[in-house]
Symmetry: C2
């Protein structure tokens, strides 16, 4: 059995990566499993423990960092967010494809630890559209949105380090393109695996 | 003007990467420029200085290594082979897409120095076919071919670290797939570049 493939979906805040991941996970043909992040931030209304996040304390989170048990982690607005290594490695070993939806900072960290990961960077069709989406989301102040847009610029400068860049203009097209990338990668890795075990 | 994109074509010996690169370079639509490697090995019949390789002495080559002027280099059968950094960086800055055809060892070194590089790994359709091609090439002893095949296994284990894997079964199809990858990357990078310069 081939090892699973780790797909990391990332991109600036407001590009719709959450929605894209939901669509990808909803399609059983993708054979995808979501790695749930851990966080120290408080649970918001409508969120579910073990589905949206695994909620934990700052003490427990810090001890996991110290014990080198986090694949990646980052701090936003004073809260920790991260991915426990053990869960991901177990799923990959079982031949399941894993999807991680994380911020660009974390995505590049994952690639440095697991160079086999396929990093997919989602970009908006335009900065104006990204701004519009952040405003319409109505979750942040103008200052926070301005900071998000500034961060987006830095993040997009890192896009070239990703395996693939996909534009999220029309959701279905974006999801379809990512599914094609996923199928291609799974197929090609299976071929390499077959070559590695071939007698000649 | 956008910076050019660096494409690195690599794969085990005998996968036909040389022929693939020739085809890619022959198509003007690809807007591709070949970076000529430097080597300390002697010129073979039919080879041309500045086209096949830039031939140099071991002393000069070593001094370029010491001065950190090589993007990558490797030693095969006692001879040095490598890519001078300056030429590649100059071409990229001028907006030209550059193609490097190098051994897998060197390809991963290039990626560590220039993480924007797009690494394309060419695999054979089967190990049996790879063996057949190496035998038909009629350049090496049975022992050398056996060593090539062993090396191919190690190299293919690294394939997952590349941006893309392409099978060279039928030459035209392989070249077409790589051209599509190249077009996609050039187009996506131009889009990111546009986003980075957009006022919002």
């Amino acid at each position: 059995m081939s090892k699973g493939v780790l797909f990391v979906i990332s991109g600036p805040s407001g590009t719709g990566k959450g929605t894209v991941c939901k669509e990808l996970l909803a399609n059983d043909d993708n054979n995808l499993f979501l790695s749930i992040s851990s966080t120290t931030r408080e649970k918001r209304a409508g969120e579910t423990e073990g589905e949206t996040y695994n909620y934990t304390t700052a003490d427990k989170f810090k001890s996991m960092i110290e014990n080198n048990e986090m694949l990646e982690y980052a701090v936003y607005s004073g809260n920790y967010y991260g991915t426990p290594k053990k869960t991901v490695e177990k799923m990959l070993a079982e031949g399941r494809n894993v999807i991680l939806e994380i911020e660009p900072q974390g995505a590049l960290k994952v690639k440095s630890i697991l160079p086999d990961a396929v990093l997919i960077f989602i970009i908006p069709p335009s900065m104006a559209e990204l701004k519009k989406r952040l405003v319409e989301r109505n979750r942040e102040t103008d200052e926070q949105i301005a900071a998000r847009l500034e961060a987006a610029k830095w993040e997009m400068e890192q896009a070239q380090k990703y395996n693939c860049i996909v534009v999220n203009d029309e959701l279905d097209a974006c999801v379809g393109e990512i599914e094609e990338i996923m199928r291609g990668n799974v197929q090609k890795r299976a071929m390499v695996d077959k070559l590695l075990h071939e007698k000649y």
